[in-house]
Every structure is written in structure tokens, then in C-alpha cells.
Amino acid sequence: MVDRHGITGTCERKGWRVVTSTQLTKDTGYTEWTDTELMTISAARALEFVTSCFVGVGIPSTAAITAQRILNPDLILIYESGTIGSRPDKIPLSIGDGALCDSAISTVSVPEMFNYWLQPGRIDTGLLGAAQVDRFGNLNSTVIGDEYRLPKVRLPGAGGAPEIASSCEEVTVIIKHSRKAFPEKVDFITSVGHGRDMSVRGALGFAGQGPVRVITDLGVLEMSEEHGELILAAIHPGVTVETIAQATGWDLIISPNLVVTPEPTQIELDTLRQLIMYSSTR
């Protein structure tokens, strides 16, 4: 029996869905799910109590639409192409698909989106992916390698992420766990978490808290004020702490309140799978 008491307080404060063991027994008809499915569902759960969410394409978008369908029907989805309040009927391939505009409360220009809506701190949560995240929550989506001018891998670049990371009240990062993706220091700070040490954020006077949690296919890391870095707060069912430690490029601190992520419920899995199936057949 997994002790979930430790996370309950955190869940309520941070907007996680808490599934009690009774609900688990009742709801869970599946015994199997993929790592990616649980990562996506965990990210959706993080949106249960937020008002508005600035969404990136890919898994962040899938998670946000899933949250809107079953956990938080009033969730205001905001895409950087200018759509506010979209209710997409399928997962958009790009952030500017027509489906986002069709269902939006309002479609504003890109300068208006960044200047009037994001910059003043009107948006609760940013949901971001990245190629790398480090122990201080800095994100890299620019280059892999030491040489900016001749990188090993040229990534797409910043897009809207740096200002999402600095202007939203908080940021949830979704990224698959590996040593390459979790280096001690990112090769390039595209979006700042807490800089090269924890002092930077306060000094720079950002409105928001920056990355407060990192949801992976193995577990969940949370930014710890006490330790001044990301620590392991939850492991997904069937994953060991050892596995996560090996997939992390620094000595990962384990929360004394470490919990196991609640298993996905049948409705969560059904909703996610239907959404993906519907999106791929159109």
C-alpha cells in the first residue's frame, strides 16, 4: 500500500488531482499504460485548478486538451499564435491550426499576445517542453554542444518559451527522462529557471515562480525552496528511485515525502486515447 498522505497537501496546493485508493480500485480498469500516457496524464492533472494555461505544441497541448475535457472544463487555453480560450476538437499539429481559431473566445495578433496578455502576468501556468532541463530548472531549446556557432545539434530555438517562463505565475515542464535531457547544467539557457545558482530569479524581479515542477515519463521533480534545486517528489508506478537517479545528470535529492504517482484512471486513459486516435484519423 502506497502512502499518499505526503503528497495530498502538495497536490491540493499545487493543483494536482488526488486519487484516493478507493477511487483507484473503482476507476482503474486498465492494468497497462505507456510511460508517455502517464506523463501526459500527470501533466493534465497539474492543470485541474488553474484558470489559464499558455500551451506549447506536442505533449503539452495533448495534456492541456485532456485536462479541459475531464478535469477542468473551464480551463482557458492560450496558444502563442494568438488564440485565447480555444476548445480544440483534436490535437493541433501546429500552434496556429485553424481548429484553434474556430473555437477561440478571441484571436489576437502575435504582438498583442505577448505584450498585452503574457507580459503583464495575466496567465497562470505555462506548459513547456524542452530538450534539456537542469537542476535549477533552466531550459534549453537552442543548441546541444559547447559551440553555439557550430553546435552538435541545432534545435528550433526560443519561440515563446523564455517569456512564458518569466511571465506566467508558474511553469510546468514536460520532458522525457534521460541523462542527456537532465544535465547538471544545460548547454544553453534559453528559458531561465533559477539561473546558474538559485539567486538569479529574485534578483531579476520576475513576476512568476518559474518552473515549479518537471513531469517526466518516470516521475515528477519539484522545485524545493529548502534545497534550492529540483528534487524527486514522485515516482510513477513500477519505477524505482534508482532508475530515476541513473537517468539524471546530477545527484538527485529525494523528497522525504516521496510518493508514487496515482495510477491513471479509466476515464483519463479513455479520454487521452480517444483524443489521440481522433486526431490521427483526420
Binding site: T107, P156, G160, S166
Partner: protein
């Protein structure tokens, strides 16, 4: 110099590019996922332009084509990926291996690019926003400087106005006087158009009278130099109300762009470049 003439030239796309886009020009082909002026980009390749400074928030497939075809010496951008599908391989080959020619990068965030367009459209030397603090971006880019707010003392980022020689956008309609009707996702198209020395718009069709759509804007002919009627001119992106985004073509782009030979063959197959033996007169 701001164009103050109400007269708009209606011409073919071939004439427009031949007349207004010269080797070495700075050129912005704008359109945020929606209404990307693909036909204009392909015509620039077909006419063999060289040494262009390409400006665009999201290079997308359109600049992958131009970069791979060797039209560009410099790229000013904020996110260089194939939305939802992965890398832009011609862009990466140019940055990582300097093929077919070295590509100088000036990269920013969406918010900064949007504000640089706003400054250009406003006819002032710079715009100001909260950006780049704590990131590695300022060290590797140009045209941004930290300034102190004269009222509050806050450190802010001044970003230089963009002033392209030519901006090309795609819109749904023009009337016979050259007023432009654009609706759906607006991106930064108006700002990009208004900061250019020469403003060219490709449209789906000419209408006798504009009937304003919900969320639509009319860009008065005062700001427009050239209109070209190019039905389907945004494909494989989309023209809201006319045709959908061709997602399969976006996903298929990897097959034409991942290696150099496939890309060269694509240029020939799409008649953007003559086969070598044809040039030799065989």
C-alpha cells in the same frame, strides 16, 4: 522612406519578385502558421536570388526551402522547427555544416521579434519589453540592448526596429483598389508589412467589395505597393476560409529535406531548378 502612395500595382508574382526582390535584399515573408506566402518563396527560389537576409519569426518549411536552395546568407528568426513534425533539416545542415553556404544567424524570442516589427511599423528606432534577463541569448545575438526605464529605474530590453527591404504576406482577399482583407490567425503580418520599404501581398482572390469577416482586418491600400492574385498561394500552410493546412505535406517534408540529394531532386521535380543537363543545353 514610408510609401505614401495610394496606388497599388497589380502584377503577376513572377513580375513582382523580378521587380522588387534583388540579390542581397532583406526580405520578410511573414505569416504565423496561417497564410504563409509559400508561392512567393518558391518564386524567389525559381528566380535564383542569392545573399538574402531572411527575416521571419518561424522559418517553417518556406525558409527551409530557401536556405537549402542557397538563397540566404543570413537568418533573423525566433523558432526554426517543423511544427509538430521535428527538425528543419536544410536549416540544420546550413548551421551545423555550412551547406550549401554558411548561414549567419540572429536569433531572438517571439516576443522580441514581434516587438521589433512593431517598432518598424511605428517608425521609431526601437521597442521596449521585459525579456532575455538571465538567459544566454544576449551573448549570442545582436540588436538588443539593456536600458533603464526613465520613470521606474527598471532594467528593460530595447530591441531595434526591423526594416526589411521587402515584406511579402498572403491574405484571403483584396479589392480592386488594393485594400487587403485578412482574417483568422493574424500573426505579426500587419506589423511586418508596415515596416517594409516595399509591401507585397499575394491573395486568394479579388473581390468587388470587402465584406468584413468576424475577427477580420482590412489593411488599407495606403500601406500596400503590390498585389498578386495567387490562389492556393499559402499551401501547404492554409488560408482560413479557403483551404486547410496540408498536414501530410508538412509531415512528408522530412522525405524531401533530410538529405541533400533528396532535396536537390525535390527542387528539380517541383521545377524550381532546372536539371544540370538541361542547363548545359542537352
Amino acid at each position: 522612406m514610408v510609401n505614401k502612395s495610394a496606388a497599388v500595382d497589380f502584377m503577376t508574382l513572377e513580375e513582382a519578385i523580378a521587380t522588387h526582390v534583388q540579390d542581397g535584399n532583406s526580405v520578410a515573408l511573414e505569416g504565423f502558421t496561417h497564410a504563409i506566402p509559400f508561392s512567393a518563396g518558391k518564386e524567389i527560389i525559381r528566380q535564383g536570388r542569392k545573399d538574402l537576409e531572411l527575416i521571419r519569426m518561424t522559418p517553417d518549411l518556406i525558409y527551409d526551402m530557401l536556405i537549402g536552395a542557397g538563397c540566404a546568407r543570413r537568418l533573423v528568426f525566433s523558432w526554426g522547427g517543423n511544427p509538430g513534425a521535428g527538425s528543419l533539416y536544410r536549416f540544420r545542415d546550413a548551421v551545423e555544416n555550412e551547406w550549401p553556404v554558411p548561414l549567419e544567424l540572429e536569433e531572438h524570442t517571439h516576443a522580441v521579434m514581434a516587438n521589433r516589427y512593431v517598432a518598424g511599423a511605428s517608425g521609431i528606432p526601437f521597442a521596449v519589453l521585459r525579456a532575455y534577463r538571465g538567459t544566454d541569448l544576449p551573448e549570442y545575438t545582436e540588436n538588443t540592448k539593456i536600458i533603464m526605464c526613465p520613470f521606474t529605474g527598471e532594467e528593460l530590453l530595447a530591441v531595434a526596429a526591423l526594416k526589411p527591404d521587402v515584406t511579402i504576406i498572403h491574405a484571403q482577399q483584396a479589392d480592386r483598389k488594393g485594400n487587403i482583407h485578412l482574417w483568422g490567425i493574424l500573426g505579426a503580418q500587419r506589423e511586418a508589412l508596415l515596416c517594409a520599404r516595399t509591401a507585397i501581398v499575394t491573395v486568394e482572390e479579388i473581390v468587388d467589395e470587402i465584406e468584413l469577416k468576424p475577427g477580420g482586418v482590412v489593411i488599407p491600400s495606403l500601406a500596400i505597393d503590390v498585389v498578386c492574385v495567387v490562389p492556393g498561394g499559402a499551401h501547404p500552410s492554409y488560408a482560413y476560409g479557403y483551404y486547410d493546412r496540408d498536414n501530410s505535406e508538412y509531415l512528408d517534408w522530412i522525405n524531401h529535406s533530410q538529405d541533400r540529394e533528396a532535396f536537390e531532386q525535390w527542387l528539380i521535380d517541383t521545377e524550381l531548378r532546372e536539371p544540370v543537363n538541361a542547363k548545359a543545353g542537352e
